[in-house]
């Protein structure tokens, strides 16, 4: 497996929407390399004939009755908002200049 470069980490950080300082990128590249070195052991036993397990319980399609129940008021739902306006969440621009 290819080594993790600083650029790889920068790309992952961008995908994950986490800004990183140059110093953090340097450290993270080294640490990721170490951690991946330790965890890649899973490949030793993960042969093609073994089915994957994504969840401990085999459950599917859990339904409940579609009944309206009391829920948060508009005010409660907005109570933790960093910014709000006109009973809505106020967010920074998402489509560039309007």
């Amino acid at each position: 497996m290819a080594a993790i470069s600083r650029d790889d980490v920068a790309h992952l950080a961008k995908l994950a929407r986490v800004e990183m300082t140059p110093d953090e990128l340097d450290h993270m590249a080294v640490e990721l390399e170490q951690i991946l070195g330790a965890v890649k052991r899973v490949q030793e036993v993960a042969t093609a004939d073994i089915p994957p397990t994504s969840h401990p319980l085999s459950m599917s399609n859990i339904f409940r009755d579609d009944v309206v129940k009391p829920s948060l008021t508009n005010e409660e739902a907005l109570s933790g908002a960093p910014a709000k306006a006109e009973d809505r969440f106020k967010v920074p621009q998402i489509l560039g200049e309007e």
Binding site: V18, M28, I35, T53, G80
Partner: protein
């Protein structure tokens, strides 16, 4: 006389006999917190006012002769990862500083309905990622046995609060050992119930296929009493198991293991475990034999890959779960000066709000899930999960419960492993397989290691939804140990009190 050193069962009994009021009991614990939490730092928030209101309500109901739940009026500490309406809930992260949830998690709602008095919220590794509380954005919790050592983690605040007599009971969460490991390191009982046994609704998610809420107590019975309060089906958690709660209180009182087969896991014993830890485990095995249990050796050859699989699965799920902290609807927002776009604000907020270990796991998870590496990492880890489940299934054909040490060593020094993530991860080597398979497990204090005088935990594991089995074995062994020691080991821990 009932005091903060009593068990929760004794407190409940004294309350029902009206020998003490819940307000008196709650005040005694708030006084203890004021006295010793400067040393322990188990709490992130103490809700004195709310606790006393809740206690007074229970006292009023009792005075009127209303029927109350068994733990009504007994205080509790709750890990700061469970939403509690109107009470600051941070998950140990700066990104949620100051957030007050507009709703109660199901577990908190159940505690309130049962009249269990919530003293406050406890410290933890940020988003439950860690094994020492050193990853909390709000400082490290100290171990009551030795203030230079960690209480373990991630639920280290809850464990320290119970071991330090700040609360008789506490709630934690366990994703890879985060209840059992701190219970072991502080000399108390901690249980990770079967996955789906307790609702995760309102619990801030770390790794959804592994996370489980569970109880801490100073005795097996106390832990069982709390287990029955919080367990049960919840239609708001689609992974909640819709079947009756195992009868854990009755099991804890049974005090009999005659004819039970107890499997010792070969791969989780011997080398790699501190000598004093192994000695205490072996002594427990002898006591179980004397109590009439049959010991069998079982082999779980794939457990050696479980740790590696965990550090792919948990970060992968975390990288997805933590996407919700986007600075738009709640929590921290930085850099929103009117010139920057949403994506820039989001990235800057997550940079400022997440700690080092959280970033490390988000990046690792993003890598493991990215196309080109998915099969090699996340896909392989899921296959190992199948192998670990099969190992347990095979072992449970030979034994009713399985046992092992909880941790390779006793409590480690604060700072000892904080700069070596792989060394820190190794402290969860014996607890992780349980989460991978979704089964339940208990950490039971079984004495002190000879070389350092620190607590040792025995892990007892049972098949899915057979949680009563580890309460039965734990209760029996606890009684045998107590008659050997003459007093609980916690009574030999340092007295932290300043006020006399």
């Amino acid at each position: 006389m009932t005091n903060i050193h009593s068990t929760a069962a004794e407190m409940a009994s004294a309350l029902s006999k009206k020998e003490i009021t819940s307000v008196e009991l709650t005040k005694a614990h708030l006084d203890r917190i004021a006295d010793v939490d400067g040393k322990l730092h188990a709490f992130l928030y103490v809700d004195s006012e709310g606790a006393l209101v809740q206690a007074a309500e229970v006292d009023a109901k009792r005075a009127k002769g209303e029927s109350l739940s068994p733990l009504a009026g007994v205080p509790i500490a709750v890990k700061d990862i469970l939403a509690q309406k109107g009470i600051p809930t941070t998950a140990g992260s700066k990104i949620l500083e100051g957030w007050r949830p507009p709703y109660d998690s199901t577990v908190v709602a159940k505690l309130k309905a049962a009249g269990v008095v919530i003293l406050g919220k406890t410290n933890m590794d940020e988003f439950a990622m860690g094994s020492s509380t050193e990853n909390s954005a709000y400082g490290t919790t100290q171990n009551p046995w030795d203030l230079t050592r960690t209480p373990g983690g991630s639920s280290g605040g809850s464990a320290a609060a119970v071991a330090g007599f700040e609360a008789p009971l506490a709630i934690g969460t366990d994703t890879g050992g985060s209840i059992r490991q701190p219970a072991a390191l502080t000399g108390i009982v901690g249980v990770k119930p079967t996955y789906g046994g307790v609702s995760r609704y309102g619990v801030i998610a770390y790794s959804s296929s592994l996370d489980q809420v569970g109880p801490f107590g100073r005795t097996v019975l106390d832990t069982a009493l709390l287990h029955e309060v919080i367990a049960g089906h919840d239609e708001r958690d689609s992974t909640s198991i819709n079947s009756p709660v195992p009868q854990v209180v009755a099991a804890a009182k049974r005090l009999d293991v005659k004819g039970m087969k107890i499997g010792v896991i070969k791969e989780l014993s011997g080398s790699g475990f501190q000598a004093g830890v192994s000695a205490r485990i072996n002594e427990s095995i002898e006591l179980l034999v004397a109590a009439g249990a049959e010991i069998v050796e079982v082999s779980c050859p794939n457990f050696e890959y479980a740790l590696a699989a965990y550090y792919l699965i948990a970060p992968s799920e975390a990288s997805s779960n933590l996407a919700r902290f986007d600075s738009m609807r709640y929590g921290l927002r930085v850099g929103d000066d009117g010139t920057k776009g949403a994506e820039e604000v989001m990235s800057a907020t997550r940079e400022a709000g997440f700690g080092k270990e959280v970033k490390r796991r988000i990046i690792l998870g993003t890598y493991a899930l990215s196309s080109g590496y998915y099969d090699a990492y996340y896909g392989s880890a899921q296959k190992v999960r199948t192998l670990v489940k099969r190992d347990f299934e095979n072992a449970f054909t030979k034994a009713d419960v399985l046992i092992s040490p909880v941790t390779p060593t006793t409590a480690f020094k604060i700072g000892e492993k904080s700069n070596d993530p792989v060394a820190m991860y190794l402290s969860d080597i014996a607890t992780i397989p349980v989460n991978m398979a979704g089964i339940g497990g208990m950490s039971l204090p079984v004495g002190l290691a000879e070389e350092d005088g620190l607590p040792v935990g025995l892990q007892i594991m049972a098949p899915l939804m057979q949680d009563d089995r580890f309460y039965r074995v734990g209760g029996t062994l606890e009684a045998a140990l107590l008659s050997k020691w003459g007093k609980p080991i916690l009574s030999t821990a340092p007295d932290l009190a300043v006020k006399k």
